[in-house]
Amino acid sequence: MTLIPGRTSKQGTSLNAGKLKAEYLEVTSTVEMNEDDMKKMKLKDGDRVRLRSPEGEVVVTCRPKKASDLPSGIIFMAYGPSSSELMGSDTAGSGMPLSKQIEVRVEAVGAGEEG
């Protein structure tokens, strides 16, 4: 799937409070996914998923979005430490890593597996 990290107002307001605070960390470790994709993967609201890229992996919470708002194959999360973990460092000579188009594999995290 393609991960698109972006700004949200919650990410914006919580970073004022401090980037090491719980709210910011929570906001930046939640991913939005097309509801049909979630059904296919047998995921429900609040389930934990593991995102893997060639660079690394993170476990985040999954929230559904209507298919009309978020197309199949795309997942969205607020910028933060989790998205950085997955981001490659190749800038193709531009200075800019592909920060908003990160190919990731998504898998459900079984109960008790985390930790």
Binding site: T2, I4, G6, R7, T8, S9, G12, T13, S14, N16, A17, G18, K19, L20, E55, G56, S68, D69, L70, P71, G73, I74, F76, Y79, G80, P81, S83, S84, E85, M87, G88, S89, D90, T91, A92, G93, S94, G95, M96, P97, L98, S99, K100, Q101
Partner: protein, 488 residues
Amino acid sequence: MSDKDNMTDNGTNTETSAAAKADAKAAPGAASGAAPGAAPKNGGDHIKIVKNATCTFCGCVCDDMDLTVDLKEKRITKAKNACVLGRAWFAEHTIEDRPAALIDGREASVEEAVEEAARILLEARYPITYGLSDSTCEAQRVAVAISDIVKGSVDTTTSVCHGPSGIAFQGVGETTSTLGEVKNRADLVIYWGGNPAESHPRHFTRYAVTPKGMHIPNGKKDRTVVLVDVRKTPSAPVSDIFIQVKPGRDFELLWTLRALVNGKKITADVEELTGVARETLDDLVARMKSCSYGVLFFGMGLTMTRGRHFNSGAVLALAADLNQYAPFVAKPVRGHGNVTGADNVVSWQTGYPFGVNFNRGFPRFNPGEFTTVDVLARGEADAALVIATDPASNFPKKAIETLRRIPVISLDTKPTETSRLARVAFSVATYGINTGGTVYRMDDVPITLRPAFESPYPGDEEILTAIRDKILALRPPRQDAAADRAAP
């Protein structure tokens, strides 16, 4: 509008104290007029109103904040006219009890920390300076001076936001305007690859969508708003037309539009390629060619995805071509409060907007070579001066690994991942809240800051100036300047 909170132009702050409320009622008459921004003291002695203060949270740099300040508590209790992000910005920047400087995590005096920072930068073979987009122009000017003196690199967060647009600009140029022209004239407003409802809430209400302007007497009614994005963001409800493009296909879509504008033939597989129907494209082209004044705002949905500077270049070229038919401008929507100032300062001092290297004693520019992600990911830098940004939490992993290895000097208003790993960490005052100075709005318009209350911490400019002066005092006498000059 789905996301009402974001659209609110006159939000009130729930934290407002009773005293401040009483004061706010009395304030407008008292504070307007002769002494703008002065501090009329009514209500309690410790409450002051700052009129026409500037919010530096995002690139909108709204300069119409009326701040209620509790001087005793050293906090802003109310920010009239601020959006949700601005309210958080003003409310949360209070004075926290922290040492002004840390060396290796231990409390140190500012003087000790300045000396240590100067020593690190002088001893390094490839020191880099990075950040600067949340700092005043006055501080940025000193930061570039430091990089010049120690022959390191200077780069700003531009390289990871609209750096590709800067590269595109060098190839294409741009047709642009101040935001007031958009407010006064634009009847076609296109947002592409951005979500201002969440990143720049007042972009809609103060500048581009709802305000009435000289030739737009009815505000939003007189404008057509188009949103192009890969997903339906909270900005979509503001738009009259939403166009959903396939991820990573922005360039194809832009180039197709450009072909249509210039009357070129296009192939039939456009819809398959971009996800957008031909009729939708024809309609958009007709609107762009027939508008009175068109603007295309573009965001990081273009610069951070496949195509990068080609995407930005396509936007700039499309807007330029459209001027055959109608006044048309394209504008990057810039993120941080003074990232535009950083571009300007680095450009006027060196000739290049970001990613500038002084290793040879004069400025060189090469994105991919001197930009911070690359320099760090390749492990080339051996010291870093990080100002008002947090690469340790938002850079790619490889770059962060280097930051962990080398001595880092950080200046920030709050503890961050970067300050946590820094050898020398300064706590600094917040620009626009505690310190004055100049910032540039996303349309390059320079705006002055009106600080609300004093911080016990020095500002960026003060720390950087001290570091620069210390470097000048400590540096060994340079070899013959004439010999240096002959080198290149």
